[in-house]
Symmetry: C2
Subunit: 187 residues, 2 copies
């Protein structure tokens, strides 16, 4: 869990006791490419951290598979619209490569907030940063053509295009696979 605690340090430094408390409610999970880490309809009670692999959050709209977001090594994943509301999620988390993740029990984590304000602060900051990213993404979606969005992704997150099947990238960009092919073929 070294990577995880390295990651935490970016946001808030934890005491040994706090680190131990987090270790006690966490476990390592390995999962094969293509499998769902969490299924649709399930209420999110786990926060994941990716040690190795790639994952996406996806859902179905009118029977069509739509990717909401991608996650790579050294990042937290959670379906926050379920985690923070306690409602079942209409979304699933799937890994796109054989992966290893740290699974943190969210209910136990939230209990730790009472005893360790430093842990509450840590996760406050983590989710504030995630919130900022989401707000920035909205800006990217307003009034940008599909081609602009593709080019932005190419320059800001080329790893997405290297490691993720294009059909998932297309729905992430809000376009069809056919349109994405057309754009890649240079117009």
């Amino acid at each position: 869990m070294n990577l995880l605690f390295q990651y935490f340090k970016q946001f808030n430094t934890l005491s040994k006791e706090a680190e131990a408390a987090i270790v006690a409610i966490s476990s390592i999970v390995t999962i094969k490419k293509g499998k769902d880490l969490q299924p649709i309809g399930h209420t999110c009670k786990t926060i994941y951290f990716i040690n190795k692999g790639v994952a996406r959050i996806y859902y179905f709209k009118d029977g069509i598979d739509i990717t909401e977001s991608f996650f790579f090594e050294n990042n937290i994943i959670a379906r926050v619209e379920s985690l923070f509301t306690g409602k079942p999620s209409r979304k699933a988390i799937q890994v796109l490569e054989d992966s290893e993740v740290v699974a943190i029990n969210a209910n136990q984590l939230f209990k730790l907030y009472d005893t360790f304000p430093e842990i509450e602060r840590l996760f406050r900051k983590i989710f504030e940063a995630a919130y900022v990213e989401t707000v920035n993404r909205i800006e990217g979606m307003q009034f940008h053509s599909a081609e602009e969005r593709y080019n932005a992704l190419l320059s800001e997150a080329p790893n997405v295009l290297m490691r993720v099947p294009l059909k998932y990238v297309a729905s992430y960009l809000g376009i069809t696979q056919v349109s994405l092919s057309r754009i890649r073929a240079h117009r």
Copy 2:
């Protein structure tokens, strides 16, 4: 500031001391229709709560005014991409009616987090809820036609359409004013 503390109760109940501490770093601001509460290029150091009025966050893309979001009575506004990063914001907050807001000094608020964990928790929950709304909005923007987005707004937030000039609604929906007129004219 009654409305504000009523609003807070939805998220976390505060002690009298904590409430007093917040009152001490807050002030009431009245501002005329059309004025900017915070200008573009300014680093966000204030969290606002709307007692009365309507506001929007907007920015310019290629010289075109784009509305990122609307805010009504009984809600918090902040340009979180600046507030949580300390960087200047490319966005402004403007009121669309004569308005009255509570201005909370953010730096002083963040200092209160150390003495009042209950205040840190309160704002953690407030921004978690705002984060969830933003994630839901992304879902609304992926693979929905302009007409679907207009109809969704009409049923979920009719007050936007009642109180806000349509030219601002158009950019919020990610379309031109002309397209919005066409959609409203029933196709």
